[in-house]
């Protein structure tokens, strides 16, 4: 509940402040979005599984974003940035889908 409220507050902040994204951060934005979505779905699933752990949620979000950013940075330096970005999106995408499937099973038992 608090998390959902905080999410709404974050969205409101983003709309209200409308910050500029610095150029050097722009390549990491899509990856960060995917990692964040993964954390949200993982968190919702864990909540429904009654296994939600604040610490795990926070740490997994931060580490996911950092590792995803690191992979993209490394890929950029090696000249395979887009390929590695695709890899990150695929892996996190699979997780998002399987978490969404688990949430679906919980909510609709289907």
């Amino acid at each position: 509940m608090i998390a959902a409220l905080a999410l709404a507050v974050g969205i409101a902040l983003g709309v209200f402040l409308d910050p500029d994204v610095p150029l050097w951060l722009q390549p990491y934005l899509p990856i960060a979005v995917i990692a964040a979505l993964d954390s949200v779905f993982g968190g919702v699933r864990a909540r429904l599984d009654k296994k939600f752990d604040d610490k795990q949620f926070v740490v997994s979000f931060i580490s996911n974003v950092l590792i995803a950013a690191l992979i993209v940075y490394l890929g950029d330096q090696l000249g395979v940035g887009s390929q590695l970005s695709t890899g990150v999106v695929v892996v996190l995408g699979i997780r998002i889908f399987s978490n969404a499937a688990a949430i679906r099973r919980h909510l609709f038992s289907a």
Partner: protein, 289 residues
Amino acid sequence: MRRRYEDEPDKQRGFGPVAVDLLASFWHNPLDYDTDAAKRPIRRTRFTRALTAVTAAAIGFLLVVAYQHTIAAAPANAEIRDQLIADINTRQAETDRMQDDAEQLGEDVENLRDELLGNDAEAAELDDQAALAGLAAVEGDGVTVTVSDGPEPEDPAAQDLGRVIDRDIQTIVNTLWSLGAEAIAIDDQRLTATSAIRAAGAAILVDFRPVTNPYTITAIGPPDLAREFNATPTAHTFDNYSNDYGLGFTVKATDDLTLPAAPAPPLDNAAPLLPPGSAPDPSGSESGR
């Protein structure tokens, strides 16, 4: 299916190769939980709840920023494009206006010259010469030839044979000259003895100004110009193009055509010969500019 998954979350059915098993393990065990959650008690304190709230706020913030960034990037491109188009239109309008000014001034010069000459026969002779050279607007009966691109081939890689190219226009114009046309314009751009019809990429340029599909070639000439033109090999060739490649080609006799004047060509090297009796121009070749 569901039972099996919940009963044995860690026991994966074998998918075969290791690489596939990697994906299977993603699918079946997406949360990196400890295998036994009961072993590790979940402590929720005020602090960890606050951390979660901050993280959730950060996620919401991130999503909105990414969304707005994506939204903002799209119109920026369109805006730049619109600006460029507006720039082009403004400059083109400016060019047209200056062209009109130049034509007006040219007319003034002609009128003043005629006044100075005071000799109607000589003035008429000069006007005729100017008209022939393309430096004065003319009117008369003649022919309108319209050529347009045929339909594009369905296979984008195939050569577009129905496309009008610069040589097509050159051929038609040369045929019209050979039939005795006295004035020719392409899309209202008057041709002179020094006009160039050439291609730049896919565009056709007449005197460095682009003309666009469909191309209208108007010519003033002898009374039966249209009939004579239709009898030429050029017209037959274009009829064949029209049948084979769908290229548009029409020839129509037109009365009361008005063709505009061509801009006066700059004299780079030549100087006009001064009439006898007038003082020699000290500035020499510069006077031509």
